[in-house]
């Protein structure tokens, strides 16, 4: 697809998403969309590191959590406004992400995956084991990170006061939409800029890239830093939206769900995260009725999806299947056009 087609498709989607609250006021539907925005946004940034730059980093949820925790802690302990803490959270995530970029510099493939996973697991373990009380309020111990029970009720984006409790979700919906729009536009710009080419060049052949003037250290660290900011912002948005954050955000199962979304959608492709997250969340939703068999259904779906679409859903669509259908459609529309033009004459 050309850049123009991509932009047209993106704008179309944006209009549709912006119109959703007009079609339904169901808090559940909007809530699921907000969750979709969060996961989609996170996967988009992850895709920059994992797919575009080809670095097997599994630190994404940790970077997200740093953003979330930083905003939550500032809001909780210092009573800062969420709008502010979210930005600080984004910056904290950039710092963390950059450090991870440095730590993984000398590593390749599975070794990167393990190092990042270990860092994330260590962070979770440290949070859970955080039991040193900063203060005792109403008989309970308040710790820096909230420990195993996490932090909650530290404030939100003010939509509740502004729009009332029931419409607050609307505000958060549009805030989420704004975040993913900006985040995706950012990812799109990066992927199609010299920087994006440098990332891909390093992934394809790092020795050759070095000989063409591309400094691996610099750009690897850079891709981590860039992907960190929106991940952190989204972490803060998550914290503000749910008004809670806890160590379960670092659970392996969430990470795997998102990793699966990325791969099912199509690794390294701009539309991959969107297709993957949408497919996984939609399917999970459809399986709701299966109760205890729901996880079985999701597992089977995952296996079948990678078998049927080894290049991801987007890869499958790009591989010609869609083009075939598309050309049939344009053929059809040409015929209709032809017919319509002819009709009045007769």
């Amino acid at each position: 697809m050309s850049a123009r087609q991509n932009i047209a498709l993106a704008l179309g989607l944006l209009v549709v998403l912006a119109a959703i609250p007009l079609l339904t006021s169901s808090r559940y539907v909007l809530g699921q969309f907000i969750l979709f925005f969060i996961w989609f946004g996170v996967v988009t940034q992850w895709n920059l590191v994992f797919g575009v730059a080809g670095i097997f980093s599994l630190a994404q949820m940790m970077i997200f959590a740093v953003g979330g925790y930083a905003s939550a802690m500032l809001a909780f302990h210092l009573q800062w406004a969420m709008w502010l803490t979210v930005i600080v959270g984004g910056c904290a995530a950039v710092v963390t992400s950059t450090v991870i970029g440095f730590a993984t510099l000398r590593l390749r493939g599975a070794y990167v995956a393990l190092l990042t996973l270990a860092i994330a697991a260590a962070m979770q373990a440290l949070i859970i084991a955080d039991t040193d009380c900063l203060s005792f309020e109403t008989g309970t111990c308040i710790t820096l990170t909230g420990g195993a029970s996490g932090l909650s009720r530290f404030g939100d984006f003010g939509f509740r006061e502004l729009l009332g409790y029931r419409s607050a979700v609307l505000g958060e919906y549009y805030l989420g939409l704004l975040l993913i729009t900006v985040g995706s536009a950012f990812a799109f710009l990066i992927i199609n800029s010299p920087l994006g080419h440098a990332f891909r060049a390093l992934r394809d052949n790092s020795a050759c890239a070095a000989a063409r003037g591309i400094d691996r250290i610099k750009y690897q660290v850079m891709v981590f830093s860039l992907a960190g900011f929106f991940s952190g912002l989204l972490g803060g948005f998550y914290a503000g939206h749910f008004n809670a954050i806890g160590p379960s955000i670092l659970d392996f199962s969430t990470l795997l769900f998102l990793l699966t979304s990325m791969i099912v959608g199509g690794v390294g492709r701009f539309w991959g995260p969107l297709a993957g997250c949408a497919a996984m969340m939609l399917f999970d939703e459809l399986l709701m009725g299966l109760e205890e068999w729901r996880a079985v259904g999701l597992g089977v779906f995952t296996v079948v999806a990678v078998i049927l679409f080894p290049q991801g859903i987007v890869g499958f669509l790009e591989s010609g299947e869609l083009r075939r259908i598309g050309s049939q459609l344009t053929g059809l529309s040409a015929q209709i056009h032809h017919f319509v033009k002819k009709a009045p004459g007769q």
């Binding site: 409790y165 749910f242 205890e292």
Partner: protein, 412 residues
């Protein structure tokens, strides 16, 4: 005849959220069963003012803020439930309170979290409909220290020193319990020598912890690790070279797996629950009805989890009937009335009395909160494994204590 009393009229949708497809699956299934059993019983008795209840059970996967919030919104939006009644969804951090409070429906759960109280107190007007059907996990800690002091003071057990060791698993509950014990230990005359030591869940190799324990040699151990298999392994390894320590685990010893895996090594251990099926007529008849209905081995552990939504839903039904009917989402007035009734009238069910604290909106514990009237508090039940082939014996509090405390074999 039966049909005469059976409910007719518009069904009342009632929700239940539980992690059927996640790690809590085993208990979640019992939650679902207890919920459905209560609905059938209530409907057979005529429903709420003649309207039958219609249950909607929804899966919360591995409970987390997003999945439980989503489940609550879905129940309200999609099914328009008038109430949500279930067991616990640990990990949600009370985030689901928001959609529930927005809709104003009644929500009764047993998340067993001390933070429930803080939420309610922060805005009683907003959270009027949200109740925690059991006392917070917090009470396990002080409850055990009080009970141990009682054993000491009544001479049933003569500790060699006043040292206590505190060990916890890496879960929210476990840590809150241990922190509560840490804060109150001194009040009961105990001196903390180990801990709180937090061990990752799961842990099955206890050597390093036991080495510390053997060095410190405390008279009392509170081990708030919750996984039955893990603590059974602890006991097996402890008994290889035991110290003169009275050992307590909250909740874990009540599970069949604890005795199955630990065998004779677990005899003498004390466990407790702040909410549990009583061994009285009411409890026993529930147990047998439950086991029969779901074709379970008689006397199994399923009913212990199943009784939770069962009792809570009955309480709700009675309260709604007294208040003149249920309230749909948005009907704040009616739901407020139900909330008033729930707080006003304690309800005796298969796990004791549900008496909601007027400000905290959670069940009042007995006797931990210095509540001396068992009809006004939910009993914190203490059990001792006396024979590993049998269910643990209920040894406290009065008047539910059918059995006596026995000095564990390793305490000479």
């Amino acid at each position: 005849n039966k049909n005469a009393t059976a409910a007719s009229g518009d069904p009342i949708p009632i929700g239940c959220m539980t992690g059927l497809s996640g790690w809590p699956a085993a208990e979640a299934l019992e939650t679902k069963r207890g919920f459905e059993m209560a609905i059938d019983e209530i409907n057979a008795m005529g429903g709420i003012l003649g309207r039958p209840l219609e249950g909607h059970v929804i899966d919360t996967k591995n409970p987390s803020a997003e999945s439980v919030t989503g489940a609550a919104s879905r129940l309200i939006d999609r099914y328009g439930v008038h109430a949500i009644v279930n067991g616990h969804n640990i990990g949600s951090q009370n985030a689901e309170y928001e959609p529930v409070a927005d809709a104003g429906v009644i929500y009764i759960h047993t998340n067993t979290l001390i933070s429930h109280r803080h939420v309610i107190e922060s805005d009683p007007e907003r959270y009027y409909g949200i109740f925690m059907g059991d006392p917070a996990e917090y009470w396990y800690g002080p409850g055990w220290l009080r009970f141990a002091a009682h054993l000491r003071d009544t001479g049933q057990w003569k500790p060699r020193n006043n040292k206590v060791a505190l060990i916890a698993g890496s879960s929210d509950y476990s840590i809150t319990i241990i922190k509560a014990a840490e804060q109150t230990a001194a009040d009961f005359g105990w001196d903390i020598v180990i801990g709180p030591e937090i061990v990752k869940t799961p842990t099955t190799e206890w050597g390093p912890v036991l080495a510390k324990l053997r060095e410190a040699d405390p008279a009392l151990l509170l081990h708030s690790h919750l996984a039955a298999g893990d603590i059974a392994q602890f006991m097996r390894q402890f008994r290889q070279d035991p110290t003169q320590t009275l050992i307590y685990f909250p909740w874990g010893p009540l599970q069949a797996a604890f005795r199955e895996i630990g065998g004779a090594d677990v005899e003498g251990v004390i466990g407790s629950t702040v909410m549990g099926l009583l061994e009285d007529d009411m409890g026993r008849s529930f147990q047998s009805a439950y086991d029969k209905r779901y074709d379970l081995d008689p006397g199994g552990t399923g009913a212990i989890s199943g009784c939770v939504p069962y009792g809570l839903l009955h309480h709700y039904a009675v309260a709604a009937a007294v208040a003149g009917g249920t309230g749909e989402p948005g009907d704040y007035e009616q739901n407020r009335r139900i909330s008033q009734v729930l707080k006003r009238f304690p309800f005796r069910t298969v796990f004791g009395s549900i008496k909601y604290h007027p400000e905290w909106q959670s069940a009042v514990p007995y006797p931990d909160l210095e509540e001396n009237d068992p009809s006004l508090g939910m009993p914190h039940l203490f059990y001792q494994v006396q024979d590993h082939t049998q269910q643990p014996k209920l040894i406290a509090p009065v008047p539910y204590d059918a059995n006596d405390f026995q000095l564990p074999a390793w305490l000479s």
